[in-house]
């Protein structure tokens, strides 16, 4: 009988839950990890790419990180096909706002637009919810740099640093210990790699996308997807630091 409440997205179970929505959230917990951090001079995001065979043609652009407008970008965790629909929606909404008001859309308003669209599919019947979580990084004149996390349910929340996807909990606890509001973008980039190093089994430069959004002095915003060789170098540094720290810890443990 429990199946009754699984079939239709819009039916509450006797415990008052929407199973399909919860399953959608669950699906994402197996997706590639993504992490986002607010820095003093930018927003940093990093994501794990799906492992694929070497026979596959590498994608021309990042498959995890998408530019939504000059001042907003997002990282995807979950079904990429579903995400593409929402990304298109967000891009159109952003341009529509600019057409109407002659200014860039405030970041939270754009996030809200996407989330309203997601929420519809948890209420109207016949279709499944979007199996996607997003991390949005953006800048506007009202609130400066911002980072938002959105759910398949249509909930969203603002963060200083957060993690989603596989092993998000262990990533989150690392962030809790090591993140500091006074960190600059360079430090945040390193911490993001450190988080991925913890959440992923074997971390290599090929398997991650690293991104930063920064504002230049003239007010323009720069989206940077770090090139492969830079990621490799940073990754080596992070791994070396981690090993040094581990060795230090071991030494302390032995001496005590």
């Amino acid at each position: 009988m429990a199946r009754r409440y699984d079939r239709n997205v819009t039916t509450f179970s006797p415990e008052g839950r929407l199973h399909q929505v919860e399953y959608a959230v669950e699906a994402i917990n197996n997706a590639g990890t993504a992490v986002g951090l607010l820095a003093t001079d930018g927003v940093v995001m990093a994501g794990e790419k799906q492992k694929v065979t070497k026979l596959l043609e590498p994608p021309k652009s990042s498959e995890k990180i998408y530019k939504l407008d000059d001042h907003v970008a997002c990282v995807v965790a979950g079904l990429t096909a579903d995400a593409n629909i929402l990304i298109n929606e967000a891009r159109v909404a952003s341009q529509r706002y600019t057409y109407q008001y002659g200014e860039a859309i405030p970041v939270e308003q754009l996030v809200e637009k996407v989330c309203n669209h997601k929420q519809l599919y948890t209420q109207y019947g016949g279709q499944r919810p979007f199996g996607v979580k997003f991390l949005f990084a953006g800048y506007d004149d009202h609130f400066g740099y911002q980072l938002y996390l959105s759910d398949p349910s249509g909930n969203y929340s603002g963060w200083k640093a957060t993690c989603m996807g596989q092993n998000a909990n262990s990533g989150q606890s690392l962030l809790k210990n090591e993140y500091d509001e006074t960190m600059d973008a360079a430090a945040c980039v390193k911490l993001s790699l450190k988080v991925l190093n913890k959440t992923m089994e074997s971390l290599s430069a090929e398997s991650i996308d690293l991104f930063a959004l920064k504002r230049k002095d003239d007010g323009s915003l720069v989206h940077t997807v770090y090139p492969h060789d830079v990621v490799t170098k940073l990754l080596d540094e992070v791994k070396a630091e981690q090993e040094a720290a581990d060795a230090e810890k071991e030494k302390l443990a032995v001496s005590s």
């Binding site: 057409y99 109407q100 008001y101 002659g102 200014e103 405030p106 308003q109 004149d141 009202h142």
Partner: protein
């Protein structure tokens, strides 16, 4: 048959309008307020057909308020100008609003700004502007007198010169003008200083 004048100074914008409400050869009243307060930091001066003025400016005012309720943020003057221009452009192909506007506003971090918008949905950021037949008298004064960084007294002085000229030479009698100023502290309504009549009239 109406005159609205706008002027941008150092940290403030003035919007001024005559107070006649008239149609054809009849003047209905002489204490009409044609300068709508959109929110605490925006003024919209209007001239054109009475009903269109009221219908359109109220529509704008309510939309500015709705935006604030929906989003918790106020529209900037620039965004408001763009919104007005867009809606006038849409209306232009249906049944246009016969309304010409001067939008003055103050924004944190941006300062004061003034926009000139007409019923054909052209919109320009200006230092001074004037709508109506009165512009034949007023624009030359503004051209000569306006300089960068006018303080408030100097700005009001120019406005008073414009009013004096209108009341001296303009065929249509405009006995009263309303002057509103917007700056960092919000909006103020000023009594019209009795203009000094030109000599040799």
């Amino acid at each position: 048959m109406e005159t609205t004048i706008g002027l941008l100074g150092n940290g403030y914008a003035i919007v001024c309008a005559d107070q006649n409400a008239a149609r054809s050869i009849v003047c209905f009243k002489k204490d009409e307020d044609k300068i709508m307060k959109l929110d605490d930091f925006k003024l919209l001066g209007q001239s054109g057909v009475g009903a269109d003025n009221v219908a359109f400016t109220e529509y704008v005012q309510k939309n500015v308020a709705l935006y604030k309720i929906n989003n918790g943020l106020s529209l900037s003057t620039k965004a408001t100008n763009n919104f007005i221009r867009g809606d006038l452009a849409t209306a232009l192909r249906k049944g246009p609003y016969q309304t010409n506007l001067l939008l003055g506003g103050f924004d944190k971090g941006v300062g004061a700004s003034l926009y000139y918008i007409d019923y054909m949905a052209s919109s320009n950021k200006v230092n001074f502007g004037c709508h109506g037949y009165g512009s034949n008298f007023v624009l030359s004064i503004l051209d000569r007198e306006w300089t960068e960084g006018l303080d408030e007294a100097a700005g009001l002085d120019i406005i008073n010169k414009c009013i004096a000229e209108l009341q001296t030479r303009f065929l249509i009698h405009m006995p009263k003008f309303l002057i509103k100023i917007v700056d960092k502290d919000g909006i103020r309504v000023l009594e019209q200083n009795p203009p000094v009549l030109l000599q040799g009239q």
